[in-house]
Symmetry: C2
């Protein structure tokens, strides 16, 4: 078997739920694979190679485009539950009976809904830069997010310097290093998301974030060992939401990094890979 | 050089500030040593060997009795600043120009005051189960702490099963394992603290916790890389105080463990040694 990396893993396809899912799979096979669930409008190629390769050194990682995103066919559902159902169908189509699930931002909502809907499918859960149903400031884009997503940038992917990093010199330097890694794969790159993706995802985000009575109760039903990670001052999904997840999940660990915004795991990729790798490897 | 452990390291003595300090020093020499600052009424022998030996595998560790505690002479100061001045004098008496500082509970307050008073002496800071000046519920013992410290126990050290662990079966099981490790050293054991210790420490705790305007401002001056750790539901120094420390310290990482009370590091000693060891080893 060849040893593929983030740079070399070929894009593969599998059919399920009427969707042709694009995915890549690489790393150390033999254990429970780690399924990555992507943020708002992102595709397979929006993951940081330092994070995926870092984690792939200890386990198999699976990156995929959910329905309607990047190289996958179908429509983006207008609910997080719909996205979770597609993710579950994708996992089963790969013939896997159990995975570890990592979700970042919107992907963290999908990861929670997937675990609620199909608890037997999920061994451990990693929730990065995300929040609970009815989380603080989650009923719509935060004021900061509206400014950041509404602005124009010299180059389109400079958007991520504002979304994922703080204004500190150290964070922006880490951001430029991230963009370099992010752009490094040039062969067999995933198509960017089309114009139908954002509106559908925003509708789903709005439903998830809408105020509901006893909104956090569902978290008590997620009993999988869970690791929650975020930066010091996430302006896209406020950091306090990571603390709320921690308070309400019965078996969760919380790790927050200094001087970080929404993408703290890209600011400290080695530290992140070590913390997540240790969490996934730990006997519980 | 013999390789000492928590069990075998001899108690040594050094004079400074008119105090004869009892201490033990062991582990991998050559780098920056890690100085342990103990909690309310505790002595050298109240540290968990799984934690001290776990950390000693990667660095030298120094356990000591501050003035008036256990085997050290002198009086317990009635202020945290006084305790910090004694700790600084002790470090200098050992001929050390810089240490990493770990403080647990009251020891975490001493660690903060030591870093404020002598920043050049402290490379990195580890704050465990502790809080800021004027922290939430820190102006006196919490109601839970009053009940726990006011009760009587079959054996005196069963107190720690209530102080450090939650009522869950898993936590109490971890607590019994901790007590076994805690009792394992029988030779050259440190004398328990005398009856003058608790009143002086309570007075110091009261001054630290008293409400003050802009109480958290001092945290901005502590620029050392800091790791903050606590359990999910610390009833002695409420967990939210760890979050407040994280919010206000300019360069802090926060790690919170599930199903933990005031002594979460004793509930998960291997995980704790890994997290702290990685933090101290990381290039910054």
């Amino acid at each position: 078997m060849t040893t593929h990396t983030h740079q070399t893993a070929p894009t593969q396809f599998v059919e399920a739920n009427g969707v042709r899912f694009a995915y890549r799979r690489f790393g150390k096979a033999g254990g429970v694979p780690l399924l990555f669930n992507m943020h708002f409008t992102g595709t397979i190629d929006h993951w940081d190679p330092a994070v995926t390769d870092g984690l792939a050194s200890g386990r198999e990682v699976i990156l995929f485009d959910n329905a309607g995103i990047g190289g996958s066919s179908g429509d983006v559902p207008t609910s997080i539950e719909g996205m979770a159902a597609n993710a579950a169908a994708f996992v089963k189509a790969l013939g896997l009976s159990q995975v570890d699930v990592l979700g970042f931002s919107l992907g963290g909502l999908v990861a929670q809904a997937l675990t609620q809907a199909e608890p037997q499918l999920v061994r451990k859960l990693v929730l990065v830069g995300t929040g609970p149903r009815s989380g603080e400031g989650m009923d719509s884009l935060t004021p900061e997010a509206q400014v950041i997503f509404g602005a124009t940038y010299d180059e389109p992917d400079h958007l991520w310097l504002k979304v994922f990093f703080t204004d500190s010199e150290a964070s922006q330097r880490a951001g430029r290093a991230f963009l370099k890694r992010f752009r490094a794969r040039t062969q067999d790159r995933d198509p960017e998301s089309n114009e139908k993706v954002a509106p559908a995802q925003l509708e789903a985000l709005g439903k998830w974030g809408a105020p509901q009575p006893n909104a956090y109760d569902y978290l008590k039903t997620i009993t999988q060992p869970t690791l929650i990670l975020n930066g010091h001052n996430d302006v896209i999904i406020y950091t306090i939401n990571s603390y709320i997840l921690f308070q309400n999940l019965p078996n969760a660990q919380l790790i927050l990094y200094p001087d970080g915004n929404h993408g703290a795991q890209y600011q400290y990729p080695e530290r992140f890979a070590l913390h997540v790798g240790h969490f996934l490897d730990e006997k519980v």
